[in-house]
């Protein structure tokens, strides 16, 4: 069983990327999720929670109902739900609301235990000891690591209790347990999570220690902000995470893990593999100390880390040690990210690319054409006018205007319009990203249908093919009848995906974009 533990805002956005890939059918069979974030109210967390709920609905509607070969929404999520408690994505925090480090470490009680409380001052400044941790560790990994280390005291509490039980169950099976920790190494929460949590997880197995594989997806600086411009008061400003410290924090983290690796404690290095991902031209984002306003846009670095996670889940033994990936794009002047730059060890690059393109195409056609088509009143009066609708639905007594099918169509509307396309648009916010063609994206809400044959980078400027949707529509008729889902919205989505495959074969091979 695979477990993804995401720490902090960056980790949560990696979770978003993983779910987008799972929706496109690239995920593992099952995935257990846990988020670690003291600032559970941050905007990225809220967005990820909404995506998880949306994904779960997609899984319920489509998993196992799309016919052979189609894995869209197939990954089954385990959210560590426990009876009697709220279902949904679990966010664990080592901090209770309003707590300061002083309370977390019980500094006032240390003297009574024989440990001088002044000892704490050797490791933390007065401001750190007094800092309100409700909105995270604000770029102070030393504070966060101290709090995270207390996880060993929480093993009897949820969600750890259930996670530990499940991990032990996984370890009893041959395939073992695979855990991927994702987060940034330059901020607060992510940086302070990796080592304490991985070390704790290593202590879980009582037997079959070698069946536990742990990987870390470490994000080095890929965004920056100016805290001073936010008009915050001086104390908060001093405590706030500062973008200029990111490189130094990253270097410290790298040094730390390198020391762990080469030093005498090598056997205690809790990670089997460390994936490093970053960007040499960090994106500027508005500063927010935390809470709902902290909502950075998605970034391609998170996509790379998500792919690393899926690669690890596919074959945890494929790579060992530290993994880096750099651009090998065509341009010498500017580093860029193309499909061939995706750092994949085990996953088939072409399968990834075609899988994402297929899902993208299916979504584009659904939002712009076939979704509105199957909702027209005319289709009820003259279903034979749309041959695929007649042959696959109406002639069999199935209709897409039933309550259940309509709900399925509305789900697809919402997923593509509110989650999938906005996410891709944000990932392509950086001009160096050369995966899809950003000129085809209509501000993130949908996709230009006249660019259906040019959804992949590079943009063929000026090209507009109003008949591209006609070609796709024709491919929908050619999809063999055996390639159909289990009726209703599932059969409809299966048809779109299979037609997209045919469309890619005919149109993208001709234009050379498939190579």
């Amino acid at each position: 069983m695979n477990t993804l533990i995401c720490a902090g805002g960056s980790g949560v956005r990696v979770l978003e990327a993983v779910l987008q890939l799972c929706a496109a059918g690239l995920g593992p069979a099952s995935l257990r999720l846990l988020v670690i974030d003291p600032d559970s109210a941050n905007g990225s967390g809220a967005r990820a929670t909404a995506l998880v709920e949306s994904y779960l609905e997609g899984h319920r509607r489509f998993a196992g109902r799309l016919g052979d070969g189609l894995q869209l929404f197939q990954t089954e999520l385990d959210l560590l739900d426990v009876g009697g408690r709220a279902a949904g994505l679990k966010t664990w925090s080592p901090i209770e609301k309003g707590q300061r480090l002083r309370e977390v470490l019980n500094v006032d009680l240390l003297d009574s235990t024989g440990t001088p409380s002044e000892l704490v001052r050797l490791f933390f400044t007065t401001e750190e000891i007094r800092m309100d941790l409700t909105q995270g560790f604000r770029g102070h990994p030393s504070v966060g690591a101290a709090a995270m280390s207390l996880v060993t005291l929480k093993t009897g509490e949820q969600p750890w209790r259930q996670l530990i039980e499940k991990l032990k169950g996984d370890l009893a099976r041959d395939e073992g347990a695979r855990i991927f920790l994702a987060g940034s190494v330059f901020g607060g929460t992510g940086a302070s999570t990796f080592y304490p949590i991985a070390r704790f997880l290593r202590s879980v197995p009582e037997v079959n220690h070698n069946r536990l594989k742990i990987a870390a997806g470490a994000l080095s600086p890929y965004f920056r902000f100016e805290a001073a411009t936010a008009g915050v008061d001086s104390a908060a400003s001093r405590q706030a995470a500062k973008a200029e410290r990111f490189p130094l924090a990253t270097r410290s983290a790298v040094d730390f893990y390198e020391r762990l690796r080469v030093s005498a404690v090598e056997k205690n290095l809790p990670f089997d593999v460390f994936y490093w991902a970053g960007d040499d031209t960090p994106m500027s984002v508005p500063y927010a100390p935390g809470g709902p306003e902290q909502k950075n846009p998605s970034h391609f670095v998170e996509l790379l880390t998500a792919l690393a996670a899926l690669d690890f889940f596919e074959s945890p033994g494929a790579v060992q040690g530290s993994c880096y990936a750099g651009s090998n794009g065509a341009s010498d002047e500017e580093a860029c990210l193309e499909w061939r730059d995706l750092p994949l060890a085990r996953l088939d690059r072409e399968k990834v690319r075609l899988g994402l393109l297929r899902f993208f195409l299916a979504g584009a056609v659904h939002l712009g054409f076939s979704g509105p088509l199957v909702r027209l009143p005319e289709i009820d009066r003259a279903p034979y006018r749309v041959p695929w609708y007649w042959e696959r639905f109406a002639s069999k007594g199935d209709r897409l205007n039933t309550e259940e099918s309509q709900a399925g169509l509305e789900f697809l509307d919402k997923f593509f319009r509110d989650h999938h396309f906005p996410w891709w648009t944000e990932v392509h916010g950086h001009t160096a990203v050369r995966l899809f063609n950003r000129a085809a994206m209509n501000g993130g809400k949908d996709v230009r249908l006249d660019r259906l044959t040019n959804l992949l980078w590079p943009d063929r400027a000026g090209e507009s093919d109003p008949d591209a949707i006609d070609a796709f529509y024709t491919e929908m008729m050619k999809v063999p009848k055996r390639q159909g889902g289990a009726g209703g919205a599932a059969a409809y989505l299966a048809l779109l995906a299979n037609a997209a495959d045919r469309f890619i074969d005919s149109r993208y091979a001709k234009t050379g974009s498939k190579e």
Partner: protein, 151 residues
């Protein structure tokens, strides 16, 4: 074959007409009728195929628009007109003294020619490959012509 076509004109309309002349005339008209039907079907189906392939679906409402290529079926009247006219011209030439008018025979020959063209062309439109797949059921299939529409 021509007896089958012209079973109701197997005998001359006027008993004073030469039977041999009548038989020759009937064969001639039958030849014209077959030729006009064949040419008519080829023209109608050819134009239909050309235009139906030119039609594209670009918006969700497009499949429900009037299927214009079907209008070429009106051209089926042409073989009828040609056959009727030739019938009248040849009838007058071959039987200048006939007491019976050419109108009745000409109209029936024209109707047979037009209706045959219409039927054959329509049947061909239902054959695979003639109508593009995206408009497969736009020429309404016989068993659907009388299908009850949903309210």
């Amino acid at each position: 074959m021509n007896k089958l076509y012209a079973f109701w004109v197997s005998r001359p309309p006027d008993p004073t007409m030469s039977f041999d002349l009548w038989r020759g005339f009937r064969s001639e008209v039958f030849g014209v009728l077959v030729a006009s039907v064949l040419i008519g079907v080829a023209v109608v189906v050819g134009l239909y195929m050309w235009q139906s392939r030119k039609l594209t679906v670009r918006s969700p409402r497009d499949p429900f628009l009037r299927f214009i290529p079907m209008r070429w079926l009106w051209l089926s009247a042409l073989p009828g007109i040609v056959t009727g006219v030739i019938y009248a011209v040849r009838y007058t030439a071959v039987f200048p003294l006939a007491a019976i008018s050419s109108v009745g025979g000409g109209v029936s020959a024209a109707l047979i020619s037009a209706l045959t063209t219409l039927a054959v062309a329509q049947a061909l439109m239902w054959l695979p490959g003639v109508t593009p797949r995206k408009f497969l059921y736009h020429p309404r299939w016989p068993w659907r012509l009388f299908a009850r529409r949903r309210p």
